[in-house]
Amino acid sequence: MMAQMVNGQLGAEGPYWDALAQGRLMLPRCNGCGKWHWPAVWRCGACGSWDHAWHEQPLAGTVFTWTRTHHRFAGTEGLDLPYATALVLLDAVPIRLNGLIEGDESALAIGAAVTGRTAFTQFGKDKIPSIRWNLA
């Protein structure tokens, strides 16, 4: 399977989309110097290596920041208002990933612990693979 993005330009993160659509989180690490890259790169700007490996990671981390959207922006009709989006710093690797908050939002704050799962978001006529975060 070769990933395509519905919206925007696909960079080097094809394996991320392939994995996410199959329910797993895969992230890239440079085989030259060990640096985790996000967004994904073809060439490591730190050491010059073109050799990267994708590693499965657990969906767990802490809230870096968040917003709760109340306005009906065009394209978001597939989501009930209001909805909360959280940017989460993963526990295992120094990478932040956005996801929709599901379940009880009362503990939503910077620093709150979350665990996640993969899902699909309806955007227009398309289903976009994405992350759901649950507050611990």
Partner: protein
């Protein structure tokens, strides 16, 4: 070889036409033609002699298509600053100045035009550059939401008090309410409404967000020498800088932790002031591109007017208004209260305030800092001055 462009080019003419969103009497290119001719008439310059054009933010109006309406004799140079958002607004000045100083063009129009009938809702037109599946999959489709997430960090992690946003918005509406051209003309901000009106994306309520207007704006730049022979007092470009730094940019929210809540201007601050030989204390008035209230605050901090620690001492309503305030900001009302054509009103007012044409004059102002669109992956700012 290194040329310091400071003081060698000047803005000689200004044109700006603004309408309520969706009500422009002409399509985008027609509005733009009007604004360019306005700028030329303001300068006493024949539009047919404009030989260069530059824009930003993925403007759709290719200069070659303007030639028949303007009577353009020679199109010698045209360009656009890369990047979405308003990050390129001041960068246009650097390109235009470089083109003039290297003999590639003699008279350059800097422009931006947007009409909902052509480019759709402004938020969507501005965002089209940035959207990808990483964002839409989590419901992020508008600049307001991304800026809201960064504002949340500015308040809750860096300790900036939320009350400073109210001070900035109040000052903007004070100025806008006195500007016949402004959307907020005759309407001062009702603080109770500001504090309780509907949420857009937390922590932003409606009046934390910039306006959306149809319109077009144009500045005419020529050499300082040529400007002195034209109708209006030349407003010299003293400095301009654009760019970004490692740890900031188009990084799907993975910017460096210390940079994440900034406006992105740390990358250019020193270059900007050094080119002009000025410091923040030398700036008489600021035209601040504030897409959202918190990003305006972050930009003021980045540009060295205050810090995370003393922001509440500087960003006070009384200090921000003209005349009388020590740091007058957005003297026409800015993007919040004057109107929003991708921030162009901040460039227009930068010129007007130094000519003494502002609806809220700053007596004896000699220097104006134009702080470009904050939070964009590449950003830019400029400093103008008059003799």
């Amino acid at each position: 070889m290194s040329i310091n462009l400071s003081g060698k080019t000047a803005i000689a003419g200004v044109g700006y036409r603004q309408y309520k969103r969706g009500t422009a009497p002409l399509p985008e290119r027609g509005l733009l033609t009007r604004a360019i001719v306005d700028a030329c008439e303001d300068a006493g310059f024949d539009p047919a002699d404009v030989d260069g054009f530059v824009s930003y933010g993925d403007d759709h109006n290719e200069p070659v298509r303007l030639m028949s309406d303007l009577g353009t004799k020679e199109l010698n140079w045209s360009a656009q600053v890369w990047g979405g958002g308003g990050g390129g607004i001041a960068g246009t000045l650097g390109l235009a100045s470089a083109a003039i100083l290297t003999g590639q063009a003699k008279a350059v129009v800097i422009f931006r035009a947007l009409a909902e009938g052509n480019s759709g809702r402004l938020a969507a037109a501005v965002m089209a550059h940035h959207l990808n599946d990483h964002m839409v999959g989590v419901g992020l489709v508008a600049p307001a939401q991304v800026c809201a997430m960064r504002a949340q960090r500015l308040f809750d992690y860096h300790g900036v008090p939320r009350s400073v946003c109210e001070e900035l918005v109040r000052a903007s509406y004070f100025h806008g309410s006195r500007n016949p051209e402004a959307t907020a003309y005759g309407k001062e901000l009702d603080l109770d409404v500001f504090r309780t009106t509907r949420w857009i994306a937390e922590p932003f309520r409606l009046f934390d967000c910039s306006r959306e207007n149809d319109g077009a704006g144009a500045l005419l730049m020529v050499s300082d020498e040529m400007a002195r022979d034209l109708k209006k007092k030349p407003v010299k470009l003293l400095s301009v800088a654009q760019g970004t730094q490692q740890g900031w940019g188009d990084l799907i929210e993975n910017d460096d932790i210390d940079l994440y809540a900034t406006g992105g201007f740390r990358a250019i601050k020193d270059k900007l002031y050094n080119m002009a030989g000025l410091t923040p204390a030398d700036i008489d008035v600021v035209q601040l591109y504030e897409n959202f209230s918190a990003q305006g605050i972050a930009s003021l901090i980045d540009h060295g007017f205050c810090t995370y620690e003393n922001v509440a001492e500087v960003v006070r309503y009384e200090n921000l208004i003209a005349p009388g305030g020590g740091l007058p900001i957005n003297t026409s009302g800015g993007n919040l209260a004057h109107g929003f054509v991708h921030g162009f009103v901040t460039a227009v007012e930068s010129i007007r305030c130094l000519r003494g044409e502002s609806p809220n004059p700053v007596p004896d102002a000699k220097t104006c800092l134009l702080a470009g669109g904050p939070g964009a992956p590449t950003i830019s700012s400029a400093i103008f001055g008059v003799d």
